[in-house]
């Protein structure tokens, strides 16, 4: 550590050695603990995607015979990817809402007035959402397995999906955090949630792109959610492949780089402009 001597500077008698890794880890534990202590916030994002998957399986099972629909043993194999991404979009707003609440009640200022790194504060706050994103992915797979789901990618495919789910939770969580930092309002963050849902509906989360046409098809083609969903889907119905892993992990990772940068930039602007 570099110590800077100053005549008036002093924390008396204590050797301080702030480590950004330890800070991020402690913040991560806090955000994970917060989710654990508020089950009412996380349970809906576990239930609703399963509900959608069950509804889809009972309503659309014959849709698997449509031209352009991939060959699957069960509609559930197709539906898993959509359920996972939907659950993560749902769940990752929880962390951002908590961040907005930190800002509203002033706890965020306490963190900012400590010698911790700004990225540690943001990523630490997102960590609970990341752990939850990975756990959601595993949860959906485990719950759907007895109902006919089969993951052709095997254990490696499941691991890749868990990693992808974790990184996606960071990407979406950071995007929503940027909004939390910008507005400082938990209502604004919750109010923005439908936008994520619209992005999800204009993707191949619920139907393959091959069955879409017109503006809907074009939007789904350019929507990164389509491509990462298809990465998850290929790991489920085709097997483990480099191309599927790249789409399932690298697309959310690329998005995460952009959204974390956006969140930090927003934080920087907030400190200067407020």
């Amino acid at each position: 550590m570099t110590t800077v001597e100053s005549p008036a500077a002093a924390t008396r008698g204590i050797r301080l050695d702030p480590s950004s890794l330890a800070q991020t880890w402690a913040m991560s534990k806090r955000s994970t603990l917060a989710l654990w202590r508020q089950p009412s916030l996380v349970v809906p994002s576990l239930i609703f995607p399963l509900f959608f998957a069950a509804l889809g399986t009972s309503s659309f099972s014959r849709a698997t015979a449509l031209p352009g629909f991939p060959a699957v043993d069960s509609y559930l194999d197709f539906a898993l990817a959509g359920a996972v991404v939907q659950g993560i979009l749902f769940g990752s707003t929880v962390g951002a809402t908590a961040l907005a609440t930190d800002i509203e009640n002033g706890f965020f200022d306490r963190l900012l007035s400590s010698p911790s790194t700004r990225s540690g504060i943001i990523v630490g706050r997102m960590a609970g959402g990341m752990v939850f994103g990975g756990a959601q992915t595993l949860f959906f797979i485990l719950v759907l397995l007895p109902f006919g789901l089969s993951v052709k990618g095997g254990i490696a495919g499941v691991v890749a999906m868990i990693i992808g789910g974790t990184v996606l939770a960071l990407a979406v969580g950071a995007l929503m955090s940027a909004m939390a930092i910008k507005t400082g309002s938990s209502e604004a963050v919750q109010g923005a949630f439908p936008l994520l849902f619209i992005a999800l509906f204009f993707s191949s989360a619920f139907f393959p792109r091959e069955t879409m046409s017109g503006v809907y098809g074009t939007l789904a083609d350019v929507n990164p959610i389509s491509h990462l969903v298809e990465g998850f889907r290929d790991l489920t119905i085709e097997g483990f492949s480099g191309s599927a892993v790249i789409r399932a992990i690298l697309i959310p990772a690329g998005l995460a780089v952009l959204t974390v940068a956006l969140a930090l930039r927003t934080l920087n602007n907030r400190l200067g402009a407020r």
């Binding site: 200022d109 306490r110 010698p115």
Partner: protein, 340 residues
């Protein structure tokens, strides 16, 4: 920037350069500190050229009504807001270019006791210990010591959401002490507290100060500033309007103030009569205030004069100069909610 200068002495053929460092030895210095919001016609000068020099080991009271610029000044000095002009130095470090060094050396308890309600008191203290880089072996002991110090040992393992307002404030203070800072910023630490909790927090602040901690205390309670602060500054409209020791500032006001309540219909007449006993001073609505040039002995004359003019006096109160008078003289109005 801050008046750092040098003097040169010649002894024989040897030339001595004594570098003087008056400002960097002070725990808190602000020079022309500004924070403006917006631009053009819509510009809001929240803080407009604040100069402060707070001495090592003092409790400095920063007084002003809501919106005067107190919290904005503190936010700049605690690195939470960038100044738009001027210089701030805390613990010898620049608040903009050396923000992280400033953060290591200060303790901050901001308005409204900002604490995560989902965590327990002990958990929050341990988190704070990590953020400030205390050795892991000390976390539990330090948390226990601080909980004991602020009287929260029994509540340490309870979630903060179950704490009362006073308990939250005490925990907030404990959090700001985790790294034993030499400079402590307390932003309205007792706002909303009951009198008992307020007095217990005052005692803790005094104890900290006795241990050598420099405290910058913002408050809108004049009594609080009078009780605790060795020196005060009054801010109004983003500018410092008075600065000094409370006793000296009160002495500057000089004469005691007589507050007279009369019927509204007689107010104008009474006001004209009172003006002959001294300068009229701001007072609460329905009351007239006059600084008695001749001191308390003039009270009987005031009563007689009003009586002879046929004005019924509803209430009469003589007050020795208080910080409220200092404030009123500086700003032209009395501090709302003032209790001194």
């Amino acid at each position: 920037m801050t008046g750092v200068g040098a003097s040169v002495h010649r002894i024989g053929s040897i030339v001595w350069h004594d570098v003087l460092m008056p400002d960097t030895t002070l725990p808190i210095v602000a020079e022309g500190l500004q924070r403006h919001f917006g631009s053009g016609d819509d510009i809001v000068k929240a803080v407009d050229g604040v100069d402060l020099r707070i001495e090592q080991g003092e409790i400095f009271g920063f007084l002003g009504p809501n919106g005067a610029g107190k919290s904005t000044t503190v936010r700049m000095l605690t690195t939470l807001l960038r100044p738009t002009g001027g210089v701030g130095r805390v613990a010898g470090f620049d608040v903009v270019s050396q923000a992280n060094e400033v953060r290591r050396n200060i303790g901050v308890a901001l308005q409204d006791a900002a604490i995560d309600p989902l965590m327990t008191g002990a958990e929050l203290l341990k988190l704070q210990a990590v953020l400030y880089g205390l050795p892991k072996s000390q976390h539990a002991a330090k948390a226990g010591e601080l909980l004991e110090r602020v009287g929260l040992t029994a509540a340490g393992d309870r979630r903060v959401g179950t704490y009362s307002g006073g308990m939250r404030r005490r925990l907030d203070l404990a959090l700001s002490l985790i790294h034993e800072p030499s400079v402590l910023f307390l932003d309205e630490p007792t706002t909303g507290l009951d009198p008992m909790s307020r007095i217990s927090l005052w005692e803790e602040i005094r104890r900290l100060n006795n241990d050598g901690t420099t405290v910058m205390l913002t408050t809108q309670y004049l009594e609080e500033a009078d009780q605790l602060a060795e020196r005060i500054a009054i801010i109004d409209g983003g500018k410092i309007v008075r600065k000094g020791r409370p006793a000296e500032l009160k002495a500057e006001v000089g004469s005691p103030t007589l507050f007279v309540s009369v019927d509204a219909s007689a107010s104008e007449h009474a006001s004209a009569l009172l003006a002959s006993f001294g300068d009229l001073r701001p007072s609460a609505e329905g009351t007239l205030g006059v600084g008695l040039t001749e001191g308390p002995s003039a009270v009987s004359n005031v009563v007689r004069t009003l009586d002879e003019a046929g004005i019924t006096v509803r209430n009469l109160e003589l007050r020795e100069p208080s910080l409220d008078d200092v404030f009123a003289e500086a700003t032209g109005y009395r501090l709302e909610g003032a209790d001194a």
